[in-house]
């Protein structure tokens, strides 16, 4: 159980927002996410080889690493955020090689100490679940991904050991490019919600308030990443005000959706 258990209100969808750690003034951008109304923070761990990411987040990874970001810096960003925002859940998102260093248990302990509530490790599927057991042991939620290729036969394997929320990757592809058809999202969310009590958040390709509102009508959470990362890349030190205004527009749309309570 972590802060994530209270992050998804019953009467509306949560807004889940992603930025890459070490890209720009991350602390100020994180504060802007919260000020704009983000309910859950996903903080990307920069990696040299982000093979599931599209151009926007790839570029953010390179900017961050180019600026000299180390794992210790990312964890310091988390600790600083936790001190400023004691109640806003934060999830670390990234790839196995940096998130199991020096060992899975060692990284999990450091992440827990810094105040992370969950991890999304893109390239550790349920088949390699042994790698993530130390996170659970440290009270960190292990968030699983379901995708359009996750069929009914496979879904139980994905849900076994999942906690926090279920992240539905709405397109078979990389981050930030195409968007899924609303009908396919609705079908998938219905299917997933029939199989789990975890909140279901929908992401990949979500950019506009209109899209966010449509997804918020059916899902428990709306995940926005690349569009925010692009603002950070474009506006540099002036990014926080742009980020806050954009998040506010998404949040207003989500609140307007007023999810029907089942």
């Amino acid at each position: 159980m972590s802060r994530l258990s209270n992050a998804f209100p019953a009467d509306r969808a949560a807004l889940v927002t992603f930025i890459t750690a070490g890209d720009g003034d991350t602390a100020a951008n994180l504060d802007a996410l919260v000020a704009g109304g983000a309910d859950v923070i996903e903080l990307g761990m920069p990696f040299t080889d982000p093979m599931a990411d599209g151009p926007a987040i790839q570029a953010a990874n390179l900017r961050s690493l180019g600026a000299g970001t180390r794992t210790a810096d990312v964890l310091a960003i988390v600790a600083g955020f936790r001190a400023r925002h004691p109640n806003v859940p934060l999830v670390l998102m990234g790839y196995a090689n940096t998130m199991t260093r020096p060992t899975p248990a060692g990284f999990a302990a450091r992440a827990a100490e810094a105040g992370a509530d969950g991890v999304i490790i893109v390239d550790i599927p349920p088949e390699e679940a042994g790698e993530v057991a130390p996170f659970t042991a440290n009270g960190i939620d292990v968030i699983r991904l379901a995708t359009p290729t996750t069929d009914a036969a496979r879904l139980p394997a994905v849900l076994r050991g999942a906690s926090g929320f279920l992240y539905y990757v709405s397109v078979a592809g990389i981050t930030g490019l195409q968007q899924a058809a609303q009908a396919s999202i609705e079908d998938a969310v219905a299917r997933l919600k029939a199989a789990t009590d975890l909140p279901v958040a929908v992401g990949f390709g979500v950019r506009t308030p209109e899209q966010a509102e449509a997804i918020a009508r059916v899902a428990d959470g709306v995940v926005v990443g690349s569009a925010i990362v692009e603002l950070v890349g474009k506006h540099g030190k002036d990014a926080p005000e742009h980020v806050r205004a954009y998040i506010r527009s998404l949040k207003t749309a989500i609140e307007a959706a007023r999810k029907e309570v089942a």
């Binding site: 080889d49 982000p50 790839q58 196995a96 290729t149």
Partner: protein
């Protein structure tokens, strides 16, 4: 994939040839570290590969193509003048450079395209570094009439123009990759990005014995034709097994193909040669085992060049085919178990061996294979004339003459 005494011993409980386990692990190495979108597909691939392995028609078609299209078996050749030069062990070359497309890469591509067809996939993708695997993939895609996209780092596209043109002649689309360092690992990242977006119709022909399970296993099995033939050929030539096998290791498919059928032959020693670039101590090398640490990249746990945070560092080798910051997981396991010795060879040593082989044997070896040949300098000398060494000449060096000329200060 001929049935021999060697393949039968694989059923023994204490065999070194039984791995990977059902999860694709070679000890702590290997596994399936991919995004969820790809998992159903690689599970399908595994099922399909098991079915193909048990299907005599699949094996018959594979063997037929290897014989008539690739030109197998490749000869085992007694390198008489090189043997005289070193004055030690008898040196044999396994002549993979005589294969169609000029290297061992084609063996694997034939196997994988047959799997692609079996799975009903209609589009082929692959990554390439120097372009050898790209050419081999474009070749089989042409042969089977499937559209093909090759991902190649933009720097490699610039460095390897002849192979880029070959691929285009063969009908492939070459996609220059401008992300990251613009070399092989970035090409692999981009191929994975394409694959995840096109899982429904696309088959990814991985070029080496690495990646998520079952790739390391199936690439090894397709390349094992090298060792199976060599075993029969040396028995015929010398009436016994060799004392030492030597092969270059980048990802490691030519080496595992030669080694695997001999793993249970306790008296056969093996050396995998890693590219030491400017020297391990300089940090500019591609020797994952000698200069790296275990980590997770491109679908498997294996030795990687990386910093203490797990960020992948750039590899360097004069040989573009060895210029990769990882190694196949079975090699990591063979290294830790001590069954195979791994030896670093520098750019300089490889260049010397390249020239020596040209002059003494009339064979222009690939720079990759030249790393294996360079190990003879000490090994052939220290072993007596009653000993036998088999070196895998995995590819021919025509593609490398521009690189070699540049290093020798010759203007073409």
């Amino acid at each position: 994939m001929t049935d021999t005494a060697a393949t039968q011993t694989a059923t023994l409980a204490n065999s070194l040839r039984n791995l990977p386990d059902e999860h694709g692990h070679f000890g702590q190495f290997g596994g399936r570290f991919v995004a969820e979108t790809l998992m159903p597909l690689i599970l399908d691939l595994e099922r399909e590969y098991r079915a193909a392995k048990a299907d005599p028609a699949f094996k018959a078609e594979f063997d037929d193509l290897l014989e008539h299209y690739v030109g197998r078996p490749s000869p085992l050749y007694f390198a008489e003048r090189l043997t005289e030069y070193y004055g030690g062990a008898k040196i044999y070359f396994k002549r993979e450079e005589l294969n169609h497309t000029g290297a061992h890469k084609i063996n694997n591509c034939i196997g994988q395209i047959l799997l692609a067809r079996r799975m009903g996939k209609t589009r082929i993708i692959a990554e390439t570094g120097a372009g050898q695997h790209g050419v081999a993939t474009a070749t089989v895609a042409a042969r089977f009439g499937l559209p093909c996209v090759i991902f190649m780092g933009a720097k490699d596209v610039e460095r390897q123009k002849p192979n880029v043109f070959r691929m285009k002649l063969l009908g492939a689309e070459v996609h220059p990759v401008t992300s990251g360092a613009e070399t092989l690992k970035d090409a692999m990242n981009e191929a994975l990005r394409d694959w995840v977006a096109n899982v429904h119709d696309t088959f990814y022909i991985i070029g080496t014995a690495a990646g998520p399970h079952p790739y390391p296993e199936l690439v090894r099995d397709f390349q094992s034709v090298i060792g199976i033939e060599a075993r029969e050929q040396i028995q015929k030539a010398e009436g016994r097994l060799p004392d030492l096998l030597i092969a270059a290791v980048g990802g490691g498919s030519n080496a595992i193909g030669l080694f695997h059928p001999f793993l249970d032959d306790k008296d056969v020693a093996m050396i995998g040669v890693e590219a030491a670039g400017h020297g391990i101590e300089t940090g500019q090398h591609a020797a994952s085992l000698m200069g790296g640490a275990p980590g997770i990249l491109h679908g498997n746990r294996t030795y990687l060049l990386q910093d203490e945070d797990g960020q992948i560092t750039e590899a360097h080798s004069i040989s573009a085919g060895l210029d990769y910051p990882g190694i196949g997981p079975e090699h990591s396991w063979l290294h830790e178990s001590g069954r195979v010795d791994y030896l670093p060879i520098t750019d300089r040593q490889a260049l010397d061996a390249f020239q020596l082989c040209c002059k003494l044997e009339g064979i222009i070896p690939a720079l990759e294979s030249s790393h294996a040949l360079a190990a003879l300098e000490t090994k052939a000398r220290e072993m007596g004339p009653d000993k036998i060494i088999v070196v895998n000449v995995s590819g021919r060096g025509d593609k490398d003459i521009f690189t070699v000329a540049e290093h020798l200060g010759v203007e073409l």
